[in-house]
Symmetry: C2
Subunit: 341 residues, 2 copies
Amino acid sequence: MAKNGAEKRSRRVTIREVAEDAEVSVAAVSKVLRDAYGVSDALRSKVRASMDKLGYRPLAAARGMRGQTYTIGIVQPDLRNPFFADIMTGVDNALERTQYRTLIGISQSSTDGEVAAVDAMIDRQMDGILLIGAITNRGNLDAFARGKPLVTIGHHEPAATLFDTVNTNDQQGAMLAVRHLAANGYKRIAMLSLNSDTSTIIAEREIGYRRAMMEAELGRHIQVVHSAQTPREAQITARRMLEPASRPEAIFCWTDFIALEVISVATELGLRIPQDVGIVGYDNTMYCDFAQNGLSSIDQSGELLGLQATRLLIERIKGRDEAEHFVVTPRLVARRSSSRR
Amino acid sequence: MAKNGAEKRSRRVTIREVAEDAEVSVAAVSKVLRDAYGVSDALRSKVRASMDKLGYRPLAAARGMRGQTYTIGIVQPDLRNPFFADIMTGVDNALERTQYRTLIGISQSSTDGEVAAVDAMIDRQMDGILLIGAITNRGNLDAFARGKPLVTIGHHEPAATLFDTVNTNDQQGAMLAVRHLAANGYKRIAMLSLNSDTSTIIAEREIGYRRAMMEAELGRHIQVVHSAQTPREAQITARRMLEPASRPEAIFCWTDFIALEVISVATELGLRIPQDVGIVGYDNTMYCDFAQNGLSSIDQSGELLGLQATRLLIERIKGRDEAEHFVVTPRLVARRSSSRR
DNA sequence: CTGAAAGCGCTTACAG
DNA sequence: CTGAAAGCGCTTACAG
C-alpha cells in the first residue's frame, strides 16, 4: 500500500528539531514563526538561523489544527470563462506581501457541485473562502459563512449579514448595453441569457434588459432566450436565434464567451456584423479586443472586484463581523460589433 | 483579533462525538470512515447512521496528519491559456467516483513562482501533485518528488526516475505544422516561440520546427522569434514580425492564444489570412473553431493528457515507484488560416 | 522574556 | 471483530 512510497519519502524537519538545534523551547519557535509578541531579538535570530540551516517549512495542515493555515480558498464555476483570470489578477494583487496563498476549486456549475466545492474548502481548513458566481441559496451561503469567513463575487444578496458581497451593478450594465444598441438604431434587440433560475446576477441583467427596452419604447421586441454555458449548447442556441424568419437585429449576450459563439455562427451563416446583426457581450475580457472579434462589451472591472473581495475577506478573517456590500459601476466599451452608425 | 469571529463559528462535529452517539470507540469510527478491514456490518451501519444524523464531515487537515488528505494539488502557470481547461476535463474524468478532490495553484510563470507554488502544495499536505508546464530544473523536480508523489504534464524529462511525465511528442507536433504549411506553398515560415530557456516543450517544438524546415529544404528561411506570453508582449512582437519589409509568409505559433493575437494584428494591418500570411497554432483549443478565427492547430489531446497523468498520479500515491513516461502522438487540424490551396 | 503541558481531530499499531 | 493509547506537527493559555 502507501507504505512503500511513504517510507522512502524524506521526513520533514519539524518545529521540535528547530527548537533542539537552536536550544530553545518549541513554543519559542512557534512564536517566531507567527511573529508573536514577547520574543527577544537574540532568540528570534537564533531561531531564524536554525530554520534556514535545517530548511524548515511549517506544515500548514498542522498549523490549521489550532490556528490558521494562511490559505484562501477560491471557488469558481467555469475554467473556460476568461473573466475569471481578470478577477484573479486583483486577488493576487491584494495578497502580495502577505503570507496568504490561494487555492482554487471548481464547482462544476451546479448547486450540488458548488456546495461540495465549498464544503471541501471548509474540510481542508481554508482560513476564508471567496465564492465566485454563486448559485446556491441564502440558507446554504449562511451555513458556509458560519463555518468560515466568506465573501462572494457575482452574487446579489444585499440583505446578507453573515458574509460580504462584491458586485457590479448588473441591472445598470444590461441597461447600458441596450441603450447603446438602441442609440445605434437597432430595435429588435434580443437577450441571450444563461439558463439558470438561481443566479442573481443573471436575474439582474434580465431585469435591466427589460427595463431599458421599455424605456426605449421597444417593449414589444423583448425576447429573452436561455442557454446552458457549454460551447455546444451556446452554438445550437445561436444557430436557432439567427434563423432568417425570426432573426433579431441585435443580441445582447450575458457573457463575452457566448457572444464569441454568436459571432462565429453569424459569420458562418454569412451574416455581416454589425450591419446584419449587432452584438454586445459582458465582462470586457481580453478576447473582445482582438480585431477579428471587435466585440463591444460591458466592463465590470474584474480586477477591482477581485481586489476588493480579497480585502474584505482578510478583514473578515481578522475578525470583522458586520457585513459589507460593495457595488461597482459598470462601463460600456463600444467596438465594431455594435457600431452601425 | 480572530477570536470574535472564530468564537461564533459553529463547532464541527468530531469523530469522538460520532463515536459517543453510536456507542462505539473512536477507532471504530475511523475504520468505517476509511473503509478499512475488520468492521462488522452491524457496527458499520450504526456508525453510518450516527454520521448522517450528526452531519459529520471528516476534517481533511487532521486526517492528513497521520494518513491521507484525499486532495490532489494541480500547479499551473497561466490561467489565461484555455488549454488548461481541456486538461482539467481529463483530470476530472479520472477522478470521478473516487474520494479525491483537486485544488489548483498558480505558479505565475516563473521558476521561483513554480517552486513556491509546489512547496505550498506540499506544506498543505496534498496526497500528490500534478505539475503542468514545469520550467524548473531536474534537481528541484526530484526534490519535489521526494516530498510527494509527482507527475508532470508538458515537461520532457525521459530519464527521470522519481516522477512520471506525460507529454505529446512536441517535436513531431512542430514538424506537422511546418510540413502542412510547406505543403500549402508557404516558404518563408517563421516560428513565434515562447521566451523561455527552461521550458523543455518549447525547446522540443523549436527543434521540430528547424528539422522540418531543413527537410523541406527551407533551411535558409528559418527564423525563430521569442516573446513573453502576456497579451501585450505578444501583440508587440506580432506587430514587429508583420512589418512589410521582413514579413514571413507564414507563422507557426507555440500556442493558440498567441496565434489569435497574430490574427488580430494581421487583421488590423489589413493583411488577408491565409493569402498574405498563413498561421498555425498549437493546442487546438476551442477558440480555433470559431469562424472568425478559423485557426489551424496542432491537437495534443489535453483531455487525454489530464486523464493519463491523473491515473499515473493515483498509482504513485498507492505506492508505485518505477517511473512511467507517457507520450501522445499529436495531430494536425487544418482550418482556414493555413489553407492557401 | 521563556518554556512545559495540554490539545486540535484524526490514524495507526497493538492488545484483547 | 473491537477498543485504549500514542502520536502526527503545530498553537495556546498559563506559569514562572
